[in-house]
Symmetry: C2
Subunit: 250 residues, 2 copies
Amino acid sequence: MITRSQIKLIKSLQIKKFRQKEGLFIVEGAKSLQELLLSDFNIKKLYLTHQFINQYEKSLKRFQSIIETVTEKELEEAGSFTSNNAGIAMVEIKPNSPFGFGEREYILALDSVNDPGNLGTIIRVADWYGISKIVCSENTVDFYNSKVITATMGSFTRVRLFYTSLPDFIKKARVKVIGAELEGKNIYQFSFPDSGLIVLGSEANGLTPDVKKLITDHISIPRYGNAESLNVGVAAAVFCDNLRRFQGLS
Amino acid sequence: MITRSQIKLIKSLQIKKFRQKEGLFIVEGAKSLQELLLSDFNIKKLYLTHQFINQYEKSLKRFQSIIETVTEKELEEAGSFTSNNAGIAMVEIKPNSPFGFGEREYILALDSVNDPGNLGTIIRVADWYGISKIVCSENTVDFYNSKVITATMGSFTRVRLFYTSLPDFIKKARVKVIGAELEGKNIYQFSFPDSGLIVLGSEANGLTPDVKKLITDHISIPRYGNAESLNVGVAAAVFCDNLRRFQGLS
């Protein structure tokens, strides 16, 4: 059973202010939970259906003491999913730890990306293309937003995010800074350097002026039709795809 | 002003059954409306704010007789946007007309794509890469769903969709049938033929068996990390990008 006060806590974690106060976030649904159980996140509480418990008995062994058996109806009342036959986890937020560049490494940088679905898609894309670090401007949507977590389809367990001042990060990075822009050199003709930062801006406004000044390579995806722009998740994928293809052929 | 009965009609058009009964769909928000005004869609009614009317005076001249001036509050009550300072249009649905292949043409095929945001993204991607036709299985989400229209960012005016039995369409097409699959040949090494059909399935289930049987080229986007799959909108973009890049270099 989930008590009233637990439901209230879970619901409050939909809001960033309360996530920060409690140091907790929630993970919902079968796919995300499966990946969570295999990750190094510190899980505080698992509200799970009988069905999910039976199906993942082995992975759940070490979590016995924090499992609460609940019904689908309780999950749907407490969580944000209209249907959830698996569970909800309450998980500890990780510290916002800085990172730098490894050898021959590519990192993604997000400049004011507001939409949680887009951030989730970008994390999933990064995970597909083997990019494990994303640096985000402070006004980029919160990683621990439950819509972000859900949209990553489990990739939130494998990609590290660091929120900071992008201009400061870029100035310290000492790598090529590749900006995804509408007016730039054709990505099909671009020789990707050994390592670099790929910077993506918001769909509505592109890169912010302070970031734009620091771009060393302004690169565009060629357009063959009439759409004004591409979704930022899509642009991230096309950049990663061109990078990996270039590296594979060179 | 929007009358009670008009609000009821607009709201009913959120549901496919009522769209089909009335032969109408709705378009909301500034970007979609701007593109709609320039398109060949038959607009039946425009509910617009003063602000939008002043800004697009010229494009609106020929629509004088069907414009109703409304407030933002009325738009938000009638429509699906939480904020809308532009307007809502009621527009005639086009007939579901078949199409075939032009010379050296690529068409996208969608096999059971359910998510309206994904369909909208795919239409926008097609428009960016100069692909103007998408054939959809009958169970693919309805083009005229207002979430689809909104997610296209105006590209719904430039891309034609045709709903039909995919196996029947493929059998008649006489082109190479390229399936986006998890297990297939590396897309980076694929020589795209002069024309072809690129078939994308649902994220959850991939291609349906009857469609899979008809694929001539099973093609995959190489994976470098650990995500299990890519979002279907993202996969569509990576396929179109590889196609145009191949054509540009060959």
